[in-house]
């Protein structure tokens, strides 16, 4: 029940705009309940049976991810590439200005809503009725869509009557297609854009346009679409390789990215970046997230009580990190941070 409430909260008040204007369409997820998600599938592979969504939607994890994302309002509401009218001006008192600032924060928060991390959907369907008497009633399969007003796309009833008489629910791909026929989404292409094909994706990633790809993927696909997962995971990998995590800070993609690295036990590069940028609280939150995800690992050694953040990270580095490359980088970062501490203290004093 708590899950559905959270889902409902997440879907409040978002408009359908062109993706250029919103730099990312918000995906409605009221109907994302674990019992509705069809049979077993994996986050990336079918072999994995764990569903990341409940964990992702939990309050604790959401808070951690939001804190890690940051809130640089100038970056969140950065100028979009469309022809704009001239700016308007107002003269405000201090009170009015404060109110306006609050309004701006609300706008920015909506832009930071994270696309949910879901299990990959497979092409499974449910057979509703088998009728051999209807065999060969037609050459083609008949697809029936419910176009009632007010239904969410994911909840809409779409059934298929095969030529052999079987009545079944539509697969995920069919659902996407049919929803596009009757209720096209602004900015969504009817066929997957070539940009997301593997070779072209590499070209764009080489140029470093991570935000563009991720924003467009949010508009084009549903979060459980195998293509969406492939594209986002590849992007996160490239970001990790190039150590360009900061590009995605203060965007809606940072949370899911951090979640991805924690899920696949690869938080060291991100952690290193956080230490380098003096974001130790974020680092500690990331470690906590990691332990929450992987309950089998004991966190008592690392997350001791009454020690400060730097020590937690040090503990993690010494005890949990196996990969020598990552370990070396993290150790270097910690050393650099420690070396800079006395200078920082001096600077703050003066």
């Amino acid at each position: 029940m708590r899950l559905t409430r959270i889902c409902r909260l997440l879907t409040q008040g978002f408009t359908r705009n062109q993706y250029l204007r919103t730099s990312g369409r918000f995906i409605s997820c009221t109907s994302i309940r674990s019992d509705e998600i069809l049979t077993s599938g994996g986050f990336t592979k079918a072999s994995e049976e764990r569903d990341p969504l409940p964990l992702f939607l939990s309050e604790e994890v959401q808070t951690w991810l939001q804190k890690m994302t940051g809130f640089d309002i100038e970056k969140i509401c950065a100028p979009k590439p469309f022809e704009a009218d001239k700016p308007t001006y107002r003269q405000l008192t201090q009170d009015e200005l404060e109110k306006e600032k609050q309004r701006a924060i609300q706008i920015a928060k909506r832009r930071l809503q994270m696309p949910p991390v879901m299990k990959i959907r497979d092409g499974s369907f449910e057979v509703l009725q088998k009728d051999p008497g209807l065999n060969m009633f037609s050459n083609a399969k008949h697809v029936f869509t419910d176009i009632s007003f007010g239904l969410k796309d994911r909840k809409r009833l779409i059934v298929v009557r095969e030529p052999d008489g079987t009545l079944r629910t539509a697969t995920g791909k069919e659902r996407d297609r049919l929803n596009h026929v009757y209720f096209p989404e602004d900015g969504r292409a009817p066929v997957m854009p070539q940009m997301f094909e593997e070779e072209y994706l590499e070209t764009i990633l080489e140029k470093g346009k991570y935000r563009y790809i991720l924003d467009r993927a949010c508009v084009q696909f549903d979060p459980d679409d195998p293509e969406f997962i492939r594209v986002t995971h590849r992007t996160y990998e490239v970001v990790c390789e190039r150590h360009q995590f900061d590009v995605l800070r203060s965007t809606r993609h940072f949370g899911p990215m951090a979640f991805y690295f924690a899920w696949y036990k690869k938080i060291e590069p991100l952690l290193t970046d956080m230490v380098q940028r003096d974001l130790l609280t974020d680092g500690v939150n990331l470690i906590k997230l990691y332990f929450k995800m992987h309950q089998e690992l004991s966190s008592t050694e690392v997350l001791e009580e009454n020690i400060d953040e730097l020590h937690i990270i040090k503990n993690f580095c010494e005890k949990m990190v196996k990969n020598p490359n990552y370990k070396g980088q993290l150790q270097l970062a910690i050393q650099a941070y420690e070396a800079a501490l006395p200078l920082q203290a001096k600077h703050s004093q003066s």
Binding site: L134, V143, F144, R161
Partner: protein, 127 residues
């Protein structure tokens, strides 16, 4: 004397053929029976595209919400619409659907039989 049902005042949920020559497209509409086929309807409940698309599908859209409300108000259905709703699973399958299926099955069997005959003939002639 058996009474003939007065269809003149009946609301019908029926098909209006739109599209153009050699390309039919049907609207599922609500109109009194005697009115012209393509007259502006009381309500449109959906569409049927009988020509298969790239994926070999015949697309049917139905606004079940409004359909239910019209049915509650006493609308009658025409045969093609009943056929479609049967296929959709909303109604039980219509006898015409079974009829079509049976016809097609028989045709297929016949063709198969003929093709087998021809094969036998050619085999026979060879041997």
């Amino acid at each position: 004397m058996p009474s003939v049902p007065d269809k003149s005042t009946r609301f019908m949920i029926r098909l209006a053929r739109w599209g153009c020559t050699n390309r039919p497209f049907y609207h599922i509409v609500v109109l009194p029976n005697r009115k012209p086929r393509n007259m502006r309807p009381y309500d449109q409940l959906g569409t049927i595209d009988p020509m298969t698309n790239l994926y070999g599908e015949v697309l049917v859209s139905i606004n079940f919400d409004r359909l239910k409300s019209w049915l509650n108000r006493g609308a009658h259905l025409s045969r093609p619409v009943e056929h479609m709703l049967g296929l959709a699973g909303f109604y039980p399958v219509h006898p015409t659907s079974y009829l079509f299926a049976m016809r097609n099955q028989r045709k297929a069997e016949k063709q198969k039989a003929e093709s087998v005959k021809e094969e036998n003939k050619s085999v026979g002639s060879q041997s």
